[in-house]
Symmetry: C2
């Protein structure tokens, strides 16, 4: 049997931490409201996020919004928001979501101070930031003390199997989605049972407007699928982890800290190349989509050269890394070049022009088409990528780093890299 | 301009040859009828084939049928047919089509003496041999002297581009199909124009019962598509050759004898292996289907080991040869093994059982499925084929030769082989 209370006692904030969070948030709220008064701004600080909902885990962050009256123009919100943020977080740095905001630290607690418009239920235009205010209200109305701990268990579970977080890095379950799942299904174990039995798409709400792998409609915004970030992979992980937990309950499903696996690098008889770019100083949600794009560009280059991609991996740590595994480290010496069908008007031109050119074989016919085997001037994969990467966009922040692209050919004796640990340690759950 | 008369004068039988054929066939017919009389058989000799239709090319064969009254049982036809055949062709050898028959040579002319039932137009059961009698009659009724020469031109053309002959070796245009094309379209050049413009399937008759690439209904048997043996490749060759001939008329389209091409063997950076079996003493129509099957079995073995087949070739000369080209001469060291979807009941078993076994990577999730990368115990392609060939049938006459399978790895310096000439010399037209 799993001792849920013991698990909660490890990950729930201590009484001391709760006290500290209360003192810090009261202090920041007071300061923000003071600045607003002194600058004559019709705005007020509101505490939001998991702390405000009582579903926070130990060592969590504080999210504080500055809600402005709706008649302020956007520019005022942006400039005043940053001004107030810097005023209350002296060591803060500017970041950008829907509005620019300030992120800093007080007494060991990470704090985001984010400007937004005041919002009431039923108001027309709902921005992501506005919606957060309504979420806090909704969750507090629907969860009791026991429910909050059920949410905490679900967060610990999803974190430990690597599917917690809606952001582009994970495409998993947001904190709010965890809260709604517990509200809808009643308890942590009900949620797990539900996913262990789920087949195909997980439609907690049936709504044909959404084709995502999982659908759960936001109770405060009926046009929004709260589960839309959940990727098919994250959903699959959640399903299999739920099955495995029920068939053999184990503490490791509540183990947020990853014990470093003893990953063995070994010769797979393939060509593994790691492509690495400098990492721009931007948030994960800006970087990750471009890293996925970088990977898909590399896959496209391979495809264009008829080089089969066996597997791939990505990693963002000190730099951006993409790993591409192929059967060999060079393209093939010849390529079967597909010509037109024999029925077409340019069929003869194809035959005549290729008969006059250097080629390995043909033109010849298979079924109703012409083909010719051409010499490729065989190049290493690195040479191909070095040339062709400039024909593709890998995102506005990464494009300028193309010239700094580094390519590392894997060999068994090389020093450890996080992406290689991820690759060789690939597991049902994210490593 | 092409001098068709000059071409015909090269390939049409000489007057001297015609005279010799007449003497030989009259002699054989007389002898057959003599034997029939002396044995009291109600049967008579009939000359059929292209000689009987006046569409024969130089150095052709003679086909003589012994037509028996329809009330003879099959056994009598078979035994008496062979007896008569041996009587008139002392050096004859027995062969087998619908009935056994004797094939021999007289005065340098190859002669087949084939027993069959007498046949009249409208009779119910029509065998392939019976039908031949009707074809001879039909063609003689519909072709004049000029038409016969037009057929000869079409035969020379299709022979020179490698699509003459309905048998399994070629899957091309039979002599009878050439005759019908000229009867239907009027002349050699009309036929060429027709094919040069044809798009997609060539439906000279529209008949939904047939899905072959080309359809032309037999005027003596409305249930039969005379063009059914024509493969998509042969049809494609005919189309492109017709286009090329019309755009640049050239004598080489009437050059039956192949000038040996100067084929350059060269390194394609691939693995070319030639699989060779002894050739049983059987007709091409029995051997070729099994050779195609042999090739497709080799392709299936490659597919089962995820080894990509780049190209292939077959050749039947002193032995049976199949060439298979692959990127490398050994399988890969690892294989991505596809597991069940995460939703299935045995998903957990897959995970647990693979976690206990030797593997390169995983089990891991892609989309909604489980995968694991397994070690293959890398073997050479020869080793794989040597083991796996016994799990497949390659036809009743070839199966017993599996133990004699020879595998030759191509290298640039090796001695010439017809299959390599075919492979490296692959052309729009058959080499």
């Amino acid at each position: 049997m799993i001792d849920y209370q013991e698990i909660l006692s490890r990950y729930r904030p201590t009484q001391e931490e709760e006290k500290r969070l209360k003192i810090i948030s009261d202090d920041i709220i007071g300061k923000i409201n003071g600045v607003c008064r002194s600058r004559g701004l019709r705005a007020e600080a509101i505490i939001v996020g998991s702390y405000a909902k009582g579903t926070n885990l130990r060592d969590g962050d504080l999210d504080i919004f500055i809600a402005f009256d709706r008649d302020y123009p956007e520019e005022i919100i942006n400039t005043e928001g940053l001004h107030i943020g810097h005023a209350v977080l002296p060591n803060g740095r500017e970041k950008y979501a829907e509005h620019p905001y300030v992120s800093g630290e007080v007494g060991g607690v990470k704090i985001d101070v984010v400007p937004c418009y005041k919002m009431r239920f039923g108001d027309k235009k709902i921005s992501a930031v506005d919606r957060t205010l309504l979420h806090t209200e909704y969750v507090n109305d629907h969860l009791d003390e026991k429910g909050r701990d059920e949410v905490r268990l679900l967060k610990i579970f999803t974190k430990s199997i690597g599917v917690y977080g809606a952001e582009a890095k994970t495409f998993g379950f947001s904190g709010y989605l965890c809260e709604l799942l517990v509200i809808r299904l009643g308890s942590f174990e009900n949620v797990i049972r539900y996913f262990s039995r789920a087949k195909g798409r997980v439609l907690i709400d049936r709504d044909e407007r959404f084709s995502d792998p999982m659908v759960l409609i936001d109770p405060v915004d009926p046009d929004r699928n709260v589960a839309s970030p959940v990727s098919l992979e994250s959903l699959s992980r959640m399903k299999i982890a739920s099955k495995m937990f029920l068939s053999a309950p184990d503490e490791r499903f509540f183990q947020i800290e990853r014990t470093k696996k003893n990953v063995q690098y070994h010769d797979r008889g393939t060509c593994i190349i790691i492509y690495s770019l400098p990492k721009p100083d931007l948030t994960d949600d800006v970087i990750y989509p471009q890293v996925y794009r970088f990977r898909s560009v590399l896959q496209k280059i391979m495809e264009a050269h008829e080089i089969r991609v066996i597997s791939s991996e990505i990693d963002v740590s000190d730099r951006i890394y993409v790993l591409i595994e192929t059967p060999a480290c060079a393209e093939e010496r010849i390529r079967v070049h597909i010509g037109p069908p024999v029925d077409t008007d340019n069929a003869i031109d194809f035959v005549n022009s290729w008969k006059a050119r250097d080629r390995s074989r043909g033109p010849y016919i298979v079924a109703d088409r012409l083909y010719v085997d051409v010499f490729t001037g065989q190049r290493s994969i690195e040479d191909i990528v070095r040339q062709e990467i400039f024909n593709y966009s890998i995102g506005k922040n990464l494009d300028r780093f193309k010239k700094s692209l580094e390519m590392i050919r894997f060999n068994v004796g090389m020093e450890a890299l996080p992406i290689l640990d991820k690759f060789f340690g690939a597991d049902v759950f994210r490593t």
